[in-house]
Amino acid sequence: MKLPMPAALVRNLWMILLIWLAPCACRLYGDDTKPVTFDGPVAAIFKRHCVQCHGDSKQEAGLSLAGYDEVVKGGSGGVVVVSGRSSASRLIEVITAEEPTERMPPKNDPLPDEAVTLLKAWIDRGIRQNSESAGVAVKALGFRPSGMSKLEGPPPMPQTLPAFEKPKTVRPFPVLALAASPVAPLVAFSAYEAINLVDSGSGQELGALAFPEGEPHVLKFSPSGAVLLAAGGRPVQSGLAVLFDVKTGKRLAELGNEADAVLAADLSADERRVALGGSGRVVKVFSTEDGSLLHTLSKHTDWITALAYSPDGKLLATADRSGSIHLWDAATGGVVLPLAQHKGAIRALSWRADSQVLASSGDDGLIVWWYVSRGWPLTSKANAHPPARPPGVYGKLAAGVVDATFGHQGELGTCGRDGKARLWADDGQEQQAFSIAESAVAQAKPARSTGVPMLPTRVVFSFDGRVLIAGDSWGRLHFWPTAKDKPPE
């Protein structure tokens, strides 16, 4: 067969065409070689501007823009994106509407031009989820759960952590999260875009881990002490959970891509699962091996404020801001029991080492020791942290118990809005109380401007149970030896 034109000429013509088209395409879509995908830039636009009303917690017009499948599915009014045709996509129509009352997002400035251009490009190029456009790829995170097996060698302590520059802040960030290694004298606490590591004995600084995703709200060590879970993010912008190798500071996995900072998270005892939750009102359970979403637990009607896996790995306890606690089967995500007693936001959940008792505490000032197999409170303590009443002030004072944590011997440590940390015996009897204000005086820190509240935020026991450690809203730590270490008088 004879070609009408020499093949070389055809090739050249194509080349000329391409060269001629290329600059124009680049102007419109940026780097043409990299396709626009949902994962990454598109999801980020939705997360920032849309998911408040079209997300996990609320689906205005039946539409969720929280995930790829939901976007493609559309809302109660039908599909919102038509692959290859941005001009026919309802999504583009509403974000570019001239009339402010018809435009999305409502009552706000229109989306920036770059965002609109990007969304159009994404639709026009076939609404791909990720660079491997052939469906959902299994993400290999390269994390190998060590399970509950005893590690060889000495307890994991940080050795060579990657260097990074800590962001400068006006003043120290509140200690939103605090964790102690169960096997080593190591304490981790949150700073702004960083996690500080100190020695629980000497208080000496051991290094820091970068958390450029924002504020760590949760820190938890794995039972082996080898893995540190950090979860958090930026309020109303993004949230995730990260697994760190304690020795090297390397990131082992990143899980979740939330629209708001993660407020509660835990790593299962076998390190195979991470559960997390926040303002989205659902608890998501991820596999740490492939990053897949295993379960979405939706029974809570308010923000998830605390969650914890039982040490035996069988149960997951989750709690919310309206005072509800639910127990789930950790393996299947099935409902086990609701635990109803609290009348205000729950701030903390902690399991006793034998997995028989769960402690909960909250803004209603109540601490409950739950006998989990029966679903009844074993004992409870109301008004556990009663604040001193300033003269001339009447009415209810904020008396919340903001954190509660079990020690190895079944003792419970709590801290509350009365500015104290307290120690409770396993029968609910108070044993000791420590004041962070007195501790601050002992630290001889200069007082900050008057009127700025100083509140304890988190409390943990050191790995050996001999030191109770609290963090406060001024970003400091307080250390108190527990009674058994008190020198004989």
Binding site: C50, K107, T169, V170, S449, T450, R476, W480, D485, K486
Partner: protein, 750 residues
């Protein structure tokens, strides 16, 4: 290794004692606080920004359950709680003192992150700057002695625009409790009561829109202050007719009308006046004899004499008894579970009637009820504490709200949950006022129906809802609590009915005026608030003043009003006042009260109406509901009253008395038994025919009976055509009578 750590710990513990503290390593020292500009105060500077931006409005975070998980107190009544929720509830989230510009408060308000409330201000605005500075300073709470806002000053209280489109800007200054003032023009919120007259921008710029009068308001802290705005119609073509003023009422109304370029209507004719004043004062239409005598009277003072004659009639006292009984919710129950037996209701009703008939000064009348104790069966006025709120237990809060609404026209109940958003009343005022009634108790008497009302001095005062503070009894607007040693109600009665208490005298004057003119100077009459000002303030003050000067004599004020030219104006509008509905430039058409209408039908047909549980001959205005069971719910007592909107006494609201015409009313008058069964039953037509009157005379008399006027010549001719040859047939005249009673002219006062 473990042993080493323990050893180290023990050493440390020994070294420092109980509290060992270690620097966090992040910073060796806390940073010194930023210096320079003074730190914004939470109450003085930060909360006004939240108010201005609408964060704490009822539709947003100020709603009872907050919004999207963040709650503020409505318009900021609870500063301590708002601080707690913003700063401490979720440490580091809403307010981030480490990285201030990352505070959610700022990101949300500027729309930088998704926010249901949208973008409220820009990051280069002064609002943003205030919040940022405060957070940069560590978001401190205020010292306990910070001065609070105690009032608002506006640059003017009256604006007069010559034409639409003109504008000016209000200056708003807040006065603090330390007497300092500051400009809050950029922090206040503004609204107009009528945007078709004047609108006001977010920065306080008032623009005239169209002719009329209204008020625009500035709100700041818990204060709402109004500015009267008048936009004049075009001057061309307007001539002030300069009508003569009969008394001070005319002077004040006409001055206002002249300013607004509205000409009042003409004086009504004698027929209209006679019918109007007889219905208003005696609750019935004039009789034929009264009509003839009045029309034949050539004296120039006959209207004034007629007013005096009607005021002396018991019917006047009985009508006002009915009005008070409605407001005080007099209802009797035969098996009422709690203190509201028929016998008690009757004692109350008879007592009210006696006060009205003997002309008891209104302040004494009210004071006696307020201070009353003892048996509900023998001491009528004590039933204020059984009937105003029909409940098995005495409820101080509900009672205080209704008490204030009836006797002051003020609805303070908004302040139960938050400071009144559009008036001066705070929660402090409300709970202090409730404490006047917390000690009221009802104990069983000697017979089962009897309850004895007494004051229990052991009951503590009401507690403030926000902080639980005990609030000793204090009068509204008062500064110091009254002496709580004994029964505080005598102090309450003394304050309430004192000549100086213009809330009381203005409320009474306004209600009396509304009864006679069909519309209050403040409307609704029981919703007096800063944002609902009188349409003619000087007039209301003068009426209240007259009431005080006359020792609270009801008849004296009614006489003064009825003698005014304003009361006697025609209902027929002219070109300049046809649109006026609120400045009394012409008479309003008023549908008769349900009871007056029923009595009128009975009077003109000569057939009285019977009421269950009342003796033969009882008029509708003498009737109050007597029920078989409990008295709490709405009770009309008679189906006619429910159709024609007599107050069901379910609440003390003035709106319970309805004056709107409805279709079912028209149908009831046309085919119901009230009119139909009475046309011939009284034999009035028969009597007229027996007196050998001519058809023309009969028709004329029917007109006078029903409408208080003679037929026009067209009406007369048409009626005689209808009668035609059947001149002796009663039924023809009964048909004519039926059509007269079904005319709107019959059921309206005009």
């Amino acid at each position: 290794m473990l042993a080493r750590v323990i050893e180290k710990l023990v050493q440390l513990a020994l070294l420092i004692g109980i509290g060992i503290s270690v620097p966090t390593g992040l910073r060796a020292e806390d940073p010194s606080e930023p210096e320079g500009s003074p730190v914004p105060s939470f109450r003085r500077d930060v909360m006004p920004v939240l108010f201005r931006a609408g964060c704490n409005a009822g539709t947003c975070h100020g709603s009872a359950r907050g919004k999207d998980g963040f709650a503020l107190s409505l318009f900021g009544y609870d500063a301590r709680g708002d601080y707690e929720r913003m700063v401490n509830e979720m440490v580091g989230r809403r307010v981030n003192t480490a990285v201030p510009e990352q505070s959610l408060l700022l990101l949300k308000a500027t729309g930088a992150v998704s926010h249901t409330g949208g973008k409220l201000f820009a990051s280069d605005s002064e609002y943003y700057a205030t919040l940022l500075q405060w957070i940069e300073a560590g978001a401190p709470d205020d010292a306990a002695d910070i001065p609070e806002t105690s009032g608002l000053q506006l640059s003017t209280n009256r604006l007069l625009f010559q034409e639409a489109g003109a504008s000016t800007t209000l200056e708003v200054r807040a006065v603090a409790s330390d007497a300092s003032t500051r400009d809050v023009g950029k922090l206040a919120r503004y609204f107009s009561n009528n945007e078709s007259v004047a609108k006001i921008s977010a920065d306080g710029q008032v623009t005239a829109v169209g002719p009329g009068d209204t008020h625009v308001f500035a709100r700041f802290s818990r204060f709402t202050v109004g500015v009267e705005v008048i936009v004049l119609p075009a001057e061309a073509g307007f001539d002030w007719p300069n009508p003569p003023a009969f008394n001070f009422i005319d002077e004040l109304v006409f001055e206002r009308l002249k300013n607004l370029r509205i000409a009042p209507s003409d004086l009504c004719d004698d027929e209209t006046f006679l019918r109007r004043v007889t219905l208003d004062l005696a609750a019935r239409p004039p009789t034929v004899n009264e009509y003839q005598a009045f029309m034949a009277d050539p004296a120039s003072d006959k209207r004034d004499r007629k007013i005096d004659e009607l005021l002396a009639d018991d019917a006047f006292a009985d009508l006002w008894t009915a009005i008070w009984a409605e407001q005080l919710r007099v209802i009797g129950g035969n098996y009422a579970p709690d203190a509201t037996y028929v016998k008690a209701a009757d004692a109350f009703y008879q007592w009210i009637r006696k006060q009205m008939r003997t002309g008891r000064p209104l302040n004494e009348f009210v004071a006696e009820m307020v201070d009353a104790s003892g048996s509900n069966l023998t001491n009528g006025p004590a039933n204020l504490y059984t009937m105003l709120v029909h409940k098995p237990q005495f409820e101080p809060k509900a009672f205080a709200a209704d008490f204030s609404q009836v006797f002051l026209g003020v609805q303070i109940q908004c302040s139960e949950c938050h400071n009144h958003p559009f008036d001066r009343w705070s929660q402090d005022d409300y709970y202090s006022f409730v404490s006047f009634f917390t000690g009221i108790k009802r104990k069983p008497g000697v017979e089962p129906r009897e309850r004895r009302i007494y004051w229990d001095a052991t009951v503590p005062p009401a507690n403030h809802v926000v902080d639980g503070r005990p609030m000793p009894a204090r009068v509204l607007g008062g500064v110091k609590p009254v002496d709580m040693a004994g029964d505080p109600r005598s102090a309450l009665a003394a304050w309430l009915t004192a000549p100086e208490n213009d809330l009381f005298s203005r409320n009474l004057a306004n209600r009396i005026w509304a009864q006679l003119l069909g519309r209050g100077i403040i409307e609704p009459v029981d919703d007096v608030r800063a944002s609902n000002p009188p349409v003619n303030g000087p007039l209301l003050n003068a009426l209240a003043n007259h009431l005080v000067q006359s020792q609270f004599d009801l008849r004296s004020l009614v006489r003064e009003i009825c003698q005014s030219r304003v009361y006697q104006l025609s209902a027929k509008p002219n070109t300049s006042n046809v649109r006026d509905t609120r400045q009394f430039s012409h008479a309003h058409l008023r549908r008769l009260r349900a009871d007056v209408l029923l009595d009128s039908v009975a009077a003109v047909t000569g057939v009285p109406r019977r009421f269950n549980g009342f003796p033969e001959g009882t008029r509708a205005i003498d009737y109050y509901p007597r029920e078989s069971g409990d008295t709490e719910g709405p009770h009309f007592g008679d189906p006619f009253f429910s159709t024609f909107g007599r107050s069901s006494r379910a609440t003390v609201c003035a709106c319970e008395t309805k004056r709107e015409p409805t279709l079912s009313q028209a149908l009831h008058m046309a085919v119901g038994d009230t009119v139909k069964d009475r046309l011939g039953a009284g034999g009035e037509v028969k009597k007229l025919l027996e007196m050998k009157r001519t058809p023309r005379q009969v028709v004329e008399e029917l007109f006078i009976r029903a409408l208080g006027r003679k037929p026009t010549s067209e009406e007369g001719t048409a009626m005689l055509e209808l009668v035609g040859a059947a001149a002796a047939d009663e039924s023809v005249y009964e048909d004519i009578f039926w059509s007269l009673l079904n005319s709107t002219e019959f059921s309206f006062n005009h």
